[in-house]
Amino acid sequence: MTLPALSRLDTKGSPYLYVLPFFLLFGAFGLFPLIYTGYVSFNDWNLLDAGEHTWVGLANYRELLHDPYFWNALGNTLSIWLLSTVPQLLAALWIAHLLNHRLRARTSLRMGVLLPNITSIVAVTIVFTQMFGRDFGMINWLLGLIGVGPVDWQANTWSSHLAISVIVAWRWTGYNALIYLASMQAIPHDLYEAAELDGASSGQQFRRITVPQLRPTIIFTAVISTIGGLQIMAEPLLFAGTSTPTGGSDRQFQTAALFMYEQGFREFRFGYASAIAWTLCLVIAVFAVANYLLTRRIADDEE
């Protein structure tokens, strides 16, 4: 081969070579399990009968659609997701706005907001579960100080959802704040200077400049939070305290992922659990797209 030809191959071929490792890894750990799970979901497959399974077509999906516990789990998931994501993103936006100002010890404060995210999810949940304890929890003690009676956080639907949402939000708010902050720093400073000359208040600057400029980032975090939020499992599993996957005495905080875990690893119904996995995947896709459209429109209105 001549030298120019080689160089042409280099320019055309190299980029693919550079991204190849990702696609190889994705193929091995993402795509293959996805397709295999799809195959398993069409079978009656008991995990304990090593390898024995029969093809049942759509039976698992039909059963799922008529399973009240699946719908219950899906409802819980959506409720916990809404309760955690909306306040979390708003708080993150606000924190990022604060961090974007000239503050003392700015770098350590910026690093600080990420700390909750790098702590072990198990440790976080155990600490919060203690705090939300019925008899000796700190939150109930604080509520007692202002004259509110103790809440049995695990017993009720609303209170358990609230408690789990707090755990999720605590972990992810700082992470989202840093993403917003990074994006805020890319906003040209003269926009703010011009606004200031025109007499715009800090709040007006935030609404008229920051939020519209952050639009792509807000869409990104909303979609990512949707994907993460609809897969929540560790928090409700540990919140129960006894590591039973039913999510409370009446499944009041069993999420869809936890229901999948229960069917797969307590009932050992591998096929049924796979059907749940695929259904959940579709639900997440629908919500992610809906969220994308919705957040885009909100940001449009701002402009």
Partner: protein, 421 residues
């Protein structure tokens, strides 16, 4: 430039060579020494730490590593490892609630043979025996039943504190236990309840029935066996009389409950004594043990199994046999209170006359061996452990005031119906 690049390549090559050599020599040392590490996977406290040291001293090439997990996690992990064919320990502990599920996949376990059959309580031996006569586990302990209670709280509430008097309070049955509870609650120290939680009490009551959740053909009879409903009604009555501290057994709150003295009595199989000692250290000497209402009964007890997928099956078999041998079971009883599953030990003086200072020198040896001798074995089916959990959740719904007894019972029966074999 060129030179420095060469130098860098050389340096990298040297580093790689050093690393390879290091790995090589490390591997060599391992194969020369011939040391074997046996992984023992358990739940809760089997009390084996001292025994491991002794065994390793007698067998210098064998090291023992114990890994413990919570009850449900442990059994779920084991089932998953069996299913995927990899990851199980050399020795795996299995509780009564799960032994039938493991027995059903008996092919996955090493056959331990029939040499020791005559030593064991016959029902204990049978429970881990597959239909084609392969023994998958050596029994460690049996539950037996008693009631552990706090002397000091009983005194403060104006109840007798002496263990014989306490036993006499409810000798005729659980109704009298509830009556004593009402008496307790009337004058109880603030913030204390009579017993820990409905789920745990239920396990003790149903443990006395001749037939429990299963018929002998492995069919679930929860909805039809009147004993199951009778025990439910009894526990609901106790809950509605405000006697329950509403704690779920083995949860963090339950552990807290011991330390904070939240309850005065607890249904107490022999292994529960270890849990009390672990959690209620500050109350040593204030706990005592009385007889269980209605005599007899069993809750819990475990087995040591040797999964076939383990790397050192022969060594594991020897260790399991040694850990469950009569001498060791006797020692575990006197150090940790786990009741042996070998009845010949019950009449030995070191067991029959054993008194536990933590429990105000209660003659726990006599109390538990008497209970074990009176015990009529109950058949356990594959999903016993999960049925227990389902019923517990049903009782918790009543405790939480979410449902009436009848609503919760209906849901419990239908939830049990969802459990697949």
């Amino acid at each position: 430039m060129r030179l420095s690049r060469t130098a860098r390549v050389l340096a990298a090559a040297t580093a790689a060579a050093v690393m390879l050599t290091a790995c090589g020599s490390g591997g060599g040392a391992g194969s020369d020494g011939g040391d074997i590490t046996l992984n023992v996977n358990l739940f809760g406290n089997f009390g084996y730490q001292e025994l491991y040291k002794e065994y390793s001293q007698a067998h210098p090439t064998i090291k023992i590593a114990e890994h413990t997990a919570a009850y449900n996690d442990h059994h779920r992990d084991l089932a998953t490892h069996l299913a995927t064919g990899t990851g199980a320990g050399d020795i795996e502990g299995v509780d009564t609630g799960f032994i039938a599920q493991m027995r059903a996949v008996g092919k996955q376990f090493t056959d331990l043979g029939t040499d020791r059959a005559s030593q064991y309580l016959p029902w204990k031996w049978q429970a881990s025996l597959t239909k084609d006569g392969r023994q998958i586990g050596y029994g460690t302990d049996v539950g037996g039943l008693a009631i552990c209670y706090r002397r000091d709280l009983f005194e403060q509430a104006g109840l007798p504190a002496d263990r014989d008097a306490v036993s006499a309070l409810w000798a005729s049955g659980w109704d009298k236990y509830i009556a004593a509870g009402k008496q307790y609650t009337a004058k109880a120290p603030k913030g204390t309840a009579f017993f820990d939680g409905g789920g745990a009490l239920y396990n003790a009551v149903i443990g006395q029935a001749p037939e429990g959740f299963y018929a002998a053909d492995d069919s679930i009879v929860v909805g039809t066996n009147p004993e199951v409903r009778k025990a439910w009604d009894l526990v609901v009555q106790a809950i509605q009389s405000n006697l329950s501290a509403k704690l779920i057994e083995s949860s963090p709150e339950w552990n807290n409950g011991f330390a904070k003295g939240q309850f005065a009595t607890i249904a107490c199989p022999a292994w529960m004594m270890t849990k009390i000692k672990d959690q209620a250290k500050a109350y040593a000497g204030k706990w005592d043990v009385a007889a269980v209402p209605g005599g007899g009964g069993n809750w819990g007890g475990s087995y040591l199994t040797v999964p076939k997928q383990g790397k050192h099956v022969d060594e594991a078999k020897k260790l399991a046999a040694w850990l469950t041998a009569p001498e060791q079971q006797a020692r575990i009883f006197t150090s940790k209170g786990l009741l042996p599953s070998i009845p010949a030990l019950y009449d030995k003086p070191e067991i029959a006359q054993f008194k536990d200072p933590f429990f105000n020198n209660a003659p726990v040896g006599t109390i538990f061996t008497t209970a074990a001798k009176q015990l009529k074995p109950q058949y356990q089916g594959p999903r016993t452990g999960d049925i227990q959990t389902t019923i517990r959740d049903g009782l918790v719904r009543v405790e939480q005031g979410k449902q009436t007894s009848e609503q919760s019972w209906q849901q419990t029966v239908s939830d049990v119906g969802r459990l697949k074999k």
